[in-house]
């Protein structure tokens, strides 16, 4: 039974019949914090998340464990240097990250997917983009957060070494120079590894697959490159060694720092790149970082729509 609608008494125009009643909700008139604030929030959330802060206890275990594993050898070296009154630290600042590369690779492999894959899998990316932030902001915030987390991971042992070296009364100018060179090198390394990790992780919504893919790219490329270098060294074709080193992230960083940052190369036969080749290394590293950023931007142009 349809109830007969009361005919509007006043001779109103049809446009007047449809209107939204103001039922007294208040408008928001506080400050609108805007795009840069949202980006900063995303950055700090991602950075905290990379160490499991603000997440469950279980997800704190792995990053914290890796952080401790990174720092403990540095502390032991410092203790030995102080106890034996050594003239120099047992390991160069620039060499430390190369030695601990397995730990760094594991860290980036475990944290890059947790940073981006879960957003893809639970389809939260469109929610981010319904806020004022844009593609570039999201990519920049995630990239900067992971790179900062990596920098914290790689720079902390260097700080331990530096403080220890000063406590052991090693030469101040010498140590400061080495420390600064080490910081530059790990900053480059953080940017490069974070970029590679994020690009691979952003392709797959499956976390486990992302982890395996990142670690496969990092370790297999290093394994392949160092095998080829060893063979080139055995064949006495030392000219080829630096050029082979261009094909894996770890050897790229190694090449850059042995050409420009006063490091001794970990290549077979300690054949580091010359200055000319070092320029190529720097260009490749910067190119890779830019390429990672570009790929991420392209990836998030049309995600989740």
């Amino acid at each position: 039974m349809a109830v007969e609608q009361p005919v509007p008494t006043s001779a109103a125009t049809p446009g007047d019949q449809t209107r939204i009643h103001n039922i007294g909700y208040r408008n928001y008139d506080g400050p609108r914090l805007g795009r840069s604030y949202a980006t900063r929030s995303l950055y700090s959330q991602s950075l905290r998340g990379a160490y499991g802060l603000g997440r469950s206890v279980k997800s704190k275990v792995l990053p914290m464990l890796l952080f401790v594993v990174m720092c403990v050898p540095a502390a032991i070296m410092v203790a030995v240097a102080v106890a034996t009154k050594a003239k120099d630290l047992p390991v160069d600042y620039t060499r430390y990250a190369i030695i601990m590369q397995a730990v760094i690779s594991l860290y980036v492999a475990s944290q890059a997917p947790q940073s981006v894959s879960r957003d893809l899998r639970f389809k939260t990316v469109p929610l981010y983009f319904s806020r004022p932030i844009e593609t570039a902001d999201y990519v920049r915030a995630k990239y900067a957060a992971l790179a900062s987390a990596m920098f914290v991971l790689t720079a902390a042992p260097l700080i331990v070494l530096y403080v220890g070296a000063l406590l052991a009364k090693l030469d101040f100018a010498d140590q400061t120079k080495g420390f600064a060179q080490g910081l530059v090198s790990v900053a480059l390394l953080s940017l490069l590894f974070a970029g590679i990790g994020l690009v691979i992780a952003s392709v797959t919504p499956r976390r486990g697959f992302g982890i395996a893919a990142v670690i496969a790219v990092l370790t297999i490329s290093y394994g392949a490159v160092s095998t080829l270098q060893a063979i080139a060294d055995a064949q006495n074709s030392t000219g080829a060694i630096p050029w082979i080193g261009l094909f894996s992230p770890v050897t790229l960083i190694d090449g850059v720092q042995s050409a420009f940052l006063g490091a001794s190369s970990a290549f077979p036969g300690a054949v580091g790149p010359t200055n000319g080749e070092g320029v190529v290394y720097v260009l490749v590293v910067l190119g890779l970082i830019a390429a990672c950023y570009g790929l991420l931007m392209r990836r998030y142009q049309k995600v989740g729509l």
Binding site: R55, S56, K58, S59, L62, A102, S105, L106, A109, S110, F122, R206, R207, G208, F209, I211, A212, A213, I215, A216, T219, I220, G223, A224, T227, L228, A230, I231, A232, A234, Q235, S237, A240
Partner: protein, 239 residues
């Protein structure tokens, strides 16, 4: 004990869409490197042994084993769709066994086969090196698949733990602490390879009887325990 439907689903989960291409990239890389090395260094038994031992057996087989072993069950438990499988009238050990067979097959195809091809490219199976490393890859495929399948049922972070075992325990600790080598799938399979090759190029720190016993024990125990684990599986929400 073997259910073709479960097997088909697992194959699709492992190799469906573009995943087969990504899995196939690693073997292709190994073969490409072998071609380059053969061109650079010629046929040399020591080089072939180094490359197959260092790259194929120590890096590629574990990584493919992690992907196949944990990928056979991990994602299903992760997104909760495993309940649809568990609610079917199938024994849980049957599910595990089927998934194990699939994981072993995938690991073998993507790691042992390219090892054989790479070995033939490197030195044409001189001193039985290609065959020896292929046997090692086959044997370790079984053990890795069983081990990582178990990890997939036990932990949500199975991939990370699998990689920590494969890369940190076997590679790092194995080279520093000789005792760690006794407890390493890689060394057990090398013991088998040593028996096949017979020469001094392929060596292991573990004797053949120990290695065989340990391989069988680990595989059987891991499979049994994974079945038990699946019987009392609790689905946790996302962290």
């Amino acid at each position: 004990m073997y259910d073709p439907t479960v097997a088909r689903l697992t194959y699709r989960a492992l190799l469906g869409r573009r995943r087969a291409l990504i899995l196939g990239a690693l073997p292709l890389l190994l073969i490409a490197i072998s071609v380059v090395v053969r061109g650079l260094a010629g046929a040399d038994d020591q080089t072939a042994s180094d490359l197959l031992g260092g790259l194929a057996l120590a890096t590629m087989v574990p990584i493919i084993g992690v992907i196949a072993g944990t990928g056979a069950i991990g994602p299903e438990i992760d997104d909760g769709s495993v309940v649809y499988l568990l609610s079917k009238p199938l024994k849980r050990p049957t599910i595990i066994f089927t998934k194990l067979i699939v994981a072993i097959a995938v690991t073998m195809v993507f790691s042992a086969l390219p090892t054989l091809v790479a070995g033939f490219i490197l030195n044409g199976n001189g001193q039985q090196i290609a065959v020896a490393y292929t046997v090692a890859a086959l044997v370790s495929s079984i053990a890795y698949a069983a081990l990582f399948l178990l990890l997939g049922t036990v932990s949500r972070h199975a991939v990370v733990f699998g990689l920590v075992y494969a890369l940190v325990w076997e590679a790092l600790f194995g080279s520093l602490v000789s005792g760690a080598r006794t407890l390493s799938v890689q060394q057990w399979s090398l013991a088998v390879a040593h028996k096949v090759a017979g020469g001094d190029l392929v060596t292991s720190d573990v004797s053949l009887p120990t290695a065989t016993v340990l391989l069988i024990v680990v595989t059987v125990l891991a499979t049994w325990y994974a079945g038990q684990k699946l019987r009392s599986l609790t689905l946790a929400g996302e962290e």
